[in-house]
Structure formats: structure tokens, C-alpha cells
């Protein structure tokens, strides 16, 4: 059962050579083997979305995916959103400016979900975005500020004022 197998993960552009049991989830591998604890676990059964990461650009519940399934993919987590120590990703910046987070536990999942979605659907409108957001749970904010943040981020990413 504890037969660890070697695994190479590419996360946020970095290469991680780790060894995991086949049953280890991608979330646990990211958090404990790669030390990237920004990806959170809120339910471990695929509902809350706190564990959302991008696998080859697609939002994925990392609690429902085995680490070994991520072999040879490119994984992006919340730690990989901001371009550097000084600047934030437009979605992060919008969350800050619009009070899109309180406790911040659900936040990485939302940020990654939204960043991934807006990169593919830059012109998404409010109703569509609300529906996208409904795939994740937040217990603190009541969602309105998350939606406002998302729309601001969409505008910023389109280069609008």
C-alpha cells in the first residue's frame, strides 16, 4: 500500500521530482510533497472547489484527481498567479480592491477558477460569470463581492479602464 512511485510534476513552471503512493490525491501532493499549501481542502469530495487548480489550463478539483494522473501535465496553482513579488494577478488585485475575501480560505480556489475561465472567455458577462462562480462555495462573503471582483478583473484583463 505504501509503495511510492516516482512522479514528475510541473507546477507553476517549476519541476518537482516526488514519490507518491498511487492513491495520493493531487491536492495532497501539491500541499505536502511540493510544499504549495495555497491550494486548500474544504470538503475532499468535489463540491466546494477550494482545491481548484488548473491542469493544462482547465479548472480541476485537485481533491478528486490522483497525483499520478497529473504526470506530464502543466499544473497552475494560486502561487503561480501573480507575476512577481510586487504585482498581483488582475483577479487577485480585483479581489483586494473589492473586498472579495474575508477569511481567505475559499479564495485560492476562486482565484484559480476565475483566472482560468477569464483567460479562455475574456468577454464573459455577468450572468455567465455568476454561474461559473456557483461551482465553488464561500461561507463568508455572500458572493456579491466575489462577483464584483470577477467583473472588475474581466475588465482589467480586457484592458478596459
Amino acid at each position: 500500500m505504501s509503495s511510492a512511485i516516482p512522479l514528475r510534476l510541473y507546477v507553476n513552471g517549476d519541476r518537482y521530482e516526488i514519490a507518491v503512493e498511487p492513491r495520493r490525491t493531487l491536492a495532497d501532493a501539491l500541499r505536502e510533497d511540493c510544499g504549495l499549501t495555497g491550494t486548500h481542502l474544504g470538503c475532499e469530495h468535489g463540491v466546494c472547489g477550494a482545491c481548484t487548480v488548473l491542469v493544462d489550463g482547465q479548472p480541476v478539483r485537485s481533491c478528486l484527481m490522483f497525483a499520478v494522473q497529473a504526470e506530464d501535465t502543466s499544473v497552475r496553482t494560486v502561487e503561480g498567479l501573480a507575476p512577481d513579488e510586487e504585482r498581483l494577478h488582475p483577479v487577485q488585485q480585483a479581489f483586494w480592491e473589492n473586498h472579495g475575501l474575508q477569511c481567505g480560505f475559499c479564495t485560492p480556489g476562486f482565484l484559480v477558477l476565475i483566472a482560468g475561465y477569464l483567460e479562455e472567455h475574456p468577454d464573459a458577462e455577468e450572468a455567465e460569470l455568476r454561474e461559473v462562480l456557483s461551482s465553488n462555495l464561500c461561507r463568508c462573503t455572500g458572493y456579491q463581492n466575489i462577483l464584483t471582483s470577477t467583473m472588475c478583473a474581466a475588465r482589467a484583463m480586457r484592458g478596459e479602464p
Binding site: 505504501s2 495520493r24 486548500h40 474544504g42 455568476r130 462555495l137 461561507r139 463568508c140 455572500g142
Partner: protein, 776 residues
């Protein structure tokens, strides 16, 4: 700075995923704890065999009650009625299991995966007994004398106890006399209200990481929340250490809402294991555990009888309620029942009042507090009654409320009862003014006409509202220390705690206001017993009031000290100096100035001795209070019912709330919006249901339904500052709970209206099936 919509200082770290939540503390060599929980609601323990688990590679230890038999039951933090002592929970089940999810054994292993494997191998031999689930039913035998005596821990024998843990009456005036001799035209109006069992469910499950540092001889406990100082004392006592040897540290906390941070069995097990096994120990609750192990809440049934004049004025209220406590009484003691009782009259005068509270045990997860405890329930019961009064007397529900309001002229208004051990004095308020302002701002008369027109056109649309009084700022004290280092950087250290609500930002704003510096240049340290000596915790919406006032006092003291030093050094009178931009400057000649850093350097121990000051540019501030402050508000909802599915859609939700003074309006609105979302969950979706044998039916997010972005409309808020609190220097009243309080009441009123059926809704959550039943 106070009152500004300042950006939060917490956010940059959290946005980058650099926060440290409970599970993010990872120590080399750590052991993971897994709890073996009772799979049945009630049963006798014949045996618990951990040997098969111990045989598994990677399992290091496994305990049952026998291994911790010397530990007492878990104590009370609040409202510790003596009646309740026999009902306290053992750290691991003792002879009997009393709810599904009760900890029976624990396994420690080198990984979380192996700990789970090990836990599955533990053999439980349980003899099932019938489950008692209905708190309304007559009390049943609950504890034998041996268990009662053990759990109470009083050192003397107690008799067997039944399932009614306590019952008490809160009253003033003369209810019996009022009902016995009603005036002409008086009516008696009765109502019944049930509030389902639901709870806070923060997105981060509970968790704790403890290590015994042999070099420092310190037990370090990371991942605490809400009440770290209280828990340090409790953990020290349980582990047999002096408090000096225990450091409890709050890191980031993924939401609190009441349940999180209390001392639970798992907290004791983790810390004890760190001491006994001398390895770092970590326990991270999973969601399924959370939904059966962490405090539930609400679960009340009210019966109200009002004696009412023809004009709608309530002459007397005679109320009784049953609280479904679940299987044990936890740290909150009788807090929820007591708050329900004392806050039941809300904003109304009600000259004669009596409420009977009955706290009863059932074979369910134990219950504690959840955002607006007792007020969500009591407000639902009371406001439903007021709507019924209006309906039966043919009066407008606005009119009935206004006739019963405590008038502004009567403030401060003392109700001759207690709340949380303090005299209940409404410190300030103008309820009618807030009602009028909300009506005007949101044109609620127009809204009512609109929904009436929609109904006339065949739609099931409705409007409803409810009024409430909250409480906040429970004392008795809070403290803060502000210090400035040699570079001029300012740190606020205090006993406050954060459960994610933005405490750091608000405290920084208060300090920044007094010191004339930018709030985001301030570091706030809190929730750490190694950094400050005293702190009462983050509950009961107390921190803006208590810690905010303490920080304000500390900042004043620091500013005075800086001025004294500058006056001496610059050779000018203290009155000629002011603070701006991190400097003390001569008001008339701002070029003559000393920076905070320079003053701090002047105050090194030698310099300070010369100046006859204590060393360091640092000052403490305290704030004491023996009364609470009472914010108040109005909730209004517009709903639409889908006649096909019976589902209620909330189209608009409006909150008017007077907080005395909003330290940061953006954060106040954020608290309200989040509170409303939770209130809507309890009004429409969330409920812990049980099968007849006591098996919980809601153990995942597939069956315990937290609202998503699709269910929560934009929350429209009007924050007013018409009634600053006269009992703290900031004038502030807490904003943490007022988003939740009257949601169920307002939604129920709106559903009645949509259905055109007064008094149809007497219980929450409002199930679609119930609506369908009413429609046919």
C-alpha cells in the same frame, strides 16, 4: 482613517496563497491523528480493540477511553449552570456512545492516509440502544448515577439524570396577572415557531498541530481560533502543565461563525498526544467528520402567547421554548438558551414578559452557538408572532411594530433582566427612525405595490420584513500594546482573535487614526498567548467594541508619551505638538519634528531613565465594560415562488442596520452580506436531518446545502450611525451578527405574502415540499 473604506491589510498574503491555515503547519516527523467515531446514535460499548490498528506499519499509537481515563469531562467556558455539569462530554466515549460521530478511539500514524487505514481496523463492539431524537417529547432517562457523578466531577454522588438538562424562567412584570385581568378589547394571540438544526460550517474544517518543544520545554499549539487564551488554560490543565508552558497560537482561520475554536475532544487529544508521544501531532478534520462532530446549533421550538390590545400593543408575552441540545452540553453551557430568552422581546417594550427555557438532550451531535445564537431563533418566533397579531387585528405590520417599539426618548432603556450575565440596557437607538429611513431609501411602499401587482397578475411574489435588536461588545475587558521600533515601524499586539472577519485592518485603522500614520504600515499581532497575556476571544461580536477601544486607548497613551519626549527634546510645551506622518511636529512650525523612530531611539533604556520614562516607545491600553451595546436593524425580502417546484427564490434582500459608528463601512457591509447568506441558508436550505435510528442524513455538501452564488441575491444595505454607543470611546456597535438575525423571519413573511396565506410559515427551513403542500 476611522470610517474609511480602507483596503484590508490581511489580503496580500491570503491572495497569494501564502496564508497559514491549520493544515498548513507541516512539521518533520509529525504524526497524524485520526478519530474513530461511533457509527450508531446510542449504544453500550462492549469493547474497543485497537490492536489490529497497532499492527499496521506506520501506526504509532492508539487510544481508547481507558488510556485517558484520568482526564475529566470537557469544561464550560460560558454560562456554566451547575445543573449542566453531569451532561459534559468525555474526551473519548465512556461506556456509552450517544451520537453518531462521537469520538471513541484515536489512532496516530506517520501519514494521514495510514492513520485512516489504522482507524478502519479498530474493532468496535457496540450494543445498540434506542435513539431518542425528539426534544419535544417528554424527557427520558439519560444518565445513570455513575456517569452523572463522573461527568459532573464535583466529588460527591449525583443521582441519575433525565434528558432535560436544565429549565429556567426569565421574567419581569406580572404575566399571570396581565392574562388574568385583560382590559376591554384585549385579545390573546398564540403562535408556534420552529427553527431547524443547522450551523456555521466554515469552509476550513477544524484542525490543530501541536508539538512539545523539549528544548524550550513548551507545548506549542498551532491552529487555534476564537478563544486561544481560554483554551491555553484548559489545555494546560488537561495536560498537567502550568499555563506558562503552553503556547496557543492562532494562525489564519478559515471562518468561525461560532462553532470553530471552542475546546473539543480532539483539541485535548492532539495536545495530550504531543506531550505523551513527544512527536509533532496533527489533526485535520475532514468535512464528513465536521458535519457530525463540530457543534450544531439552532434547533428550537417556540410557543408564544401574547396579550394584545386592539391597537396592536403587546401588553404581555408568555413564551416557552425547547432547545435540542444534542448528546452533550459543550463549552457554551446554557449560553444559547439564555440568550434566546433574554433577547426574545427584541425592540419592543412588552411590559409583562415571561419565557420558559428547556434545554433537552437527544442522540444527535451536540449543539452550541452559531452567528446570532438565540436571536435568529427568537427573532423568527417573535416577528412571526407580530405578523400574526397584525393579521388578526387587521393592522399594518409596520404600524404594529412602531406602536410597540421602545421609543428613542426612553433610551437608554433598561429591561430588568440579564443577558450574558450583564444587565440588559439598550444603550441607544431610534428604531422608528431606522424603519423610516429604510422605507424611504428602498421605496418599500413601492416595492409592496409592485409585488401586489405581480400577484394580481398571477405570479407568486411577496414582500416581508422583520425588525430586530442585536447585542455586541461583551466585556469584561480587552487590552492592547502598541510599540514602535527604532525604524519607526508600529506594531499592535493584542489579545484579540480573528476568524477571518478583518480584525487586523480595523484595529490598524483605529491605531492609525490616533497616531496619524497609514493603516497599512501597521503590523497587528493577535491570537497568540506567547505575545500577549490576556484576551477574551472573538465571539459575540465583541472585538470592534472591546479590542478597538483598547487599541484606541493604547494609541492615545503612546501618542502622549511621544509628545512628552518630543516636548522635552524640542524644548516646546506638549500642547504645541501634533502627530502626523509618523512624526511629532511643532504645529506652528512643522519643519521642527521628531520621527517616531527617533523618539523610539531616545527611549532606549538609558535615554528613558534620563527622561524619567519607561523604556521604549510603547504603551498599553485597556478597555473594560460591564454592559453590552445593542445595535438594531431591519431585514426585508422580496421572494418569488416557483409554483411547479415549490422553490422560493429570493430576488432582493435589504438590510438596514445601525452600528453606531462604522469603523470601515466596506467591512461592515461585507459582514452583513455574509451574514445574510448564512441566514438564507438556514431559512431555505440548510438542515441536519436524521433517520429514525439517529443516523445523520446530511454528512456531505451534497445533502447539507450551503447556498452558492446562484441562490444569494445582491444584498442591499443601509448602514446608519444614528445611535452611537454611549458606553465606549468609539461609539461603535458590532456588525458581525446583524446580517443573520432576522433573515428567517423576513423570508417567512415574504413567503406568506407570496402565497397570500397569512401565518402559513411557522418553521424554517422552508422546504419546497411544504410550499407545494400549501399550494394544493
Amino acid at each position: 482613517m476611522i470610517g474609511a473604506r480602507a483596503l484590508r491589510i490581511e489580503d496580500p498574503v491570503l491572495l497569494r496563497g501564502a496564508g497559514r491555515f491549520a493544515a498548513d503547519t507541516i512539521r518533520p516527523g509529525e504524526l497524524h491523528m485520526r478519530v474513530v467515531r461511533s457509527p450508531i446514535a446510542h449504544g453500550r460499548i462492549r469493547s474497543v480493540d485497537v490492536t489490529p490498528a497497532l499492527l499496521l506499519d506506520g501506526v504509532v499509537a492508539a487510544w481508547t477511553h481507558a488510556d485517558i481515563a484520568e482526564l475529566p469531562a470537557i469544561g464550560f467556558r460560558l454560562t456554566p449552570l451547575a445543573d449542566l455539569l453531569p451532561y459534559r462530554q468525555p474526551v473519548l466515549a465512556r461506556r456509552i456512545v450517544r451520537y453518531v460521530g462521537e469520538p471513541v478511539a484515536v489512532v496516530f500514524a506517520t501519514s494521514a492516509y495510514l492513520a485512516e487505514d489504522g482507524a478502519e481496523l479498530v474493532q468496535l463492539d457496540l450494543d445498540p440502544l434506542p435513539a431518542h431524537l425528539d426534544a419535544d417529547a417528554e424527557p427520558v432517562a439519560w444518565l445513570d448515577a455513575e456517569q452523572a457523578t463522573w461527568a459532573a466531577g464535583l466529588g460527591h454522588q449525583l443521582p441519575a439524570q433525565d434528558s432535560q438538562a436544565t429549565a429556567f424562567t426569565v421574567e419581569y412584570g406580572d404575566v399571570a396577572a396581565a392574562f388574568a385581568a385583560p382590559g376591554p378589547g384585549y385579545r390573546v394571540i398564540e403562535s408556534d415557531a420552529r427553527i431547524g438544526r443547522h450551523t456555521g460550517v466554515p469552509m476550513e474544517c477544524r484542525g490543530l498541530a501541536a508539538v512539545y518543544d523539549a528544548a524550550e520545554q513548551q507545548l506549542i499549539v498551532d491552529g487555534a481560533a476564537k478563544v486561544p487564551f481560554w483554551n491555553r488554560e484548559a489545555v494546560a490543565a488537561m495536560c498537567g502543565l502550568p499555563p506558562r508552558q503552553v503556547q496557543v497560537r492562532e494562525t489564519h482561520v478559515g471562518g468561525g461563525f461560532g462553532p470553530r475554536g471552542e475546546l473539543y475532544p480532539e483539541d485535548v487529544l492532539v495536545t495530550l498526544a504531543a506531550v505523551r508521544l513527544r512527536r509533532p501531532i496533527k489533526w485535520i478534520e475532514d468535512r464528513q467528520e465536521h458535519l457530525v462532530a463540530t457543534n450544531h446549533s439552532r434547533g428550537q421550538h417556540h410557543r408564544l402567547r401574547a396579550l394584545v390590545r386592539a391597537d396592536g400593543v403587546i401588553e404581555a408575552l408568555d413564551a416557552a421554548f425547547v432547545l435540542d441540545q444534542g448528546a452533550y452540553v459543550r463549552t457554551h453551557g446554557a449560553t444559547v438558551a439564555s440568550l434566546t430568552a433574554s433577547m426574545l422581546p427584541g425592540p419592543y417594550r412588552i411590559p409583562n414578559f415571561r419565557v420558559r427555557a428547556q434545554v433537552r438532550l437527544t442522540h444527535k451531535t451536540p449543539a452550541g452557538t452559531y452567528r446570532s445564537p438565540g436571536r435568529y431563533e427568537g427573532t423568527f418566533a417573535r416577528e412571526r408572532l407580530v405578523d400574526r397579531i397584525a393579521g388578526e387585528l387587521g393592522l399594518d405590520p409596520v404600524e404594529v411594530r412602531e406602536r410597540n417599539f421602545i421609543p428613542a426618548e426612553a433610551m437608554p432603556y433598561e429591561r430588568p433582566i440579564q443577558a450574558m450575565g450583564t444587565e440588559l440596557v439598550h444603550d441607544s437607538g431610534d428604531y422608528a427612525l431606522l424603519r423610516a429611513k429604510v422605507w424611504e431609501k428602498f421605496d418599500l411602499d413601492g416595492v409592496r405595490r409592485d409585488v401586489a401587482a405581480r400577484r394580481a397578475a398571477g405570479e407568486l411574489a411577496g414582500f416581508g420584513f422583520a425588525f430586530f435588536v442585536e447585542k455586541s461588545g461583551i466585556g469584561p475587558y480587552e487590552g492592547a500594546r502598541i510599540s514602535v521600533d527604532s525604524s519607526g515601524a508600529v506594531t499592535v499586539t493584542c489579545g484579540a482573535s480573528s476568524v477571518g472577519q478583518g480584525v487586523d485592518t480595523v484595529l490598524a485603522q483605529v491605531a492609525a487614526e490616533v497616531l496619524g500614520i497609514a493603516h497599512d504600515s501597521i503590523r497587528v499581532v493577535r491570537g497568540r498567548t506567547d505575545q500577549f497575556e490576556y484576551g477574551r476571544g472573538a465571539f459575540a461580536t465583541r472585538l470592534a467594541v472591546m479590542a478597538g477601544s483598547a487599541v484606541s486607548n493604547a494609541a492615545q497613551a503612546l501618542a502622549d508619551k511621544a509628545r512628552r519626549v518630543a516636548a522635552h527634546t524640542l524644548g516646546v510645551p506638549v500642547e504645541d505638538l501634533s502627530l502626523a506622518g509618523g512624526k511629532v511636529l511643532v504645529t506652528a512650525d512643522p519643519a521642527r519634528a521628531l520621527s517616531f523612530g527617533e523618539i523610539a531611539r531616545l527611549l532606549d533604556p538609558s535615554g528613558a531613565a534620563e527622561l524619567k520614562e519607561s523604556p521604549g516607545l510603547t504603551a498599553d491600553g485597556w478597555f473594560h465594560s460591564d454592559h453590552m451595546t445593542y445595535p438594531y436593524g431591519l431585514h426585508a425580502a422580496v421572494v418569488r415562488i416557483d409554483p411547479g417546484t415549490g422553490q422560493t427564490h429570493v430576488e432582493r434582500f435589504i438590510v438596514g442596520y445601525d452600528v453606531g459608528r462604522a469603523l470601515n463601512p466596506t467591512l461592515v457591509e461585507g459582514q452583513i452580506a455574509g451574514g445574510v447568506a448564512q441566514g438564507l441558508g438556514g431559512a431555505l436550505y440548510e438542515e441536519f436531518r436524521y433517520a429514525e435510528d439517529g443516523t445523520p442524513l446530511c454528512t456531505t455538501f451534497m445533502d447539507y446545502l450551503i447556498p452558492t452564488a446562484m441562490e444569494i441575491p445582491p444584498i442591499e444595505t443601509l448602514i446608519t450611525e444614528d445611535a452611537p454607543s454611549p458606553i465606549n470611546p468609539l461609539g461603535v456597535k458590532g456588525a458581525g451578527e446583524g446580517g443573520t438575525t432576522a433573515v428567517a423571519a423576513a423570508v417567512a413573511a415574504a413567503v406568506d405574502d407570496a402565497l397570500g396565506r397569512p401565518n402559513a410559515i411557522t418553521s424554517v427551513p422552508i422546504h419546497p415540499a411544504r410550499i407545494r403542500g400549501l399550494l394544493t
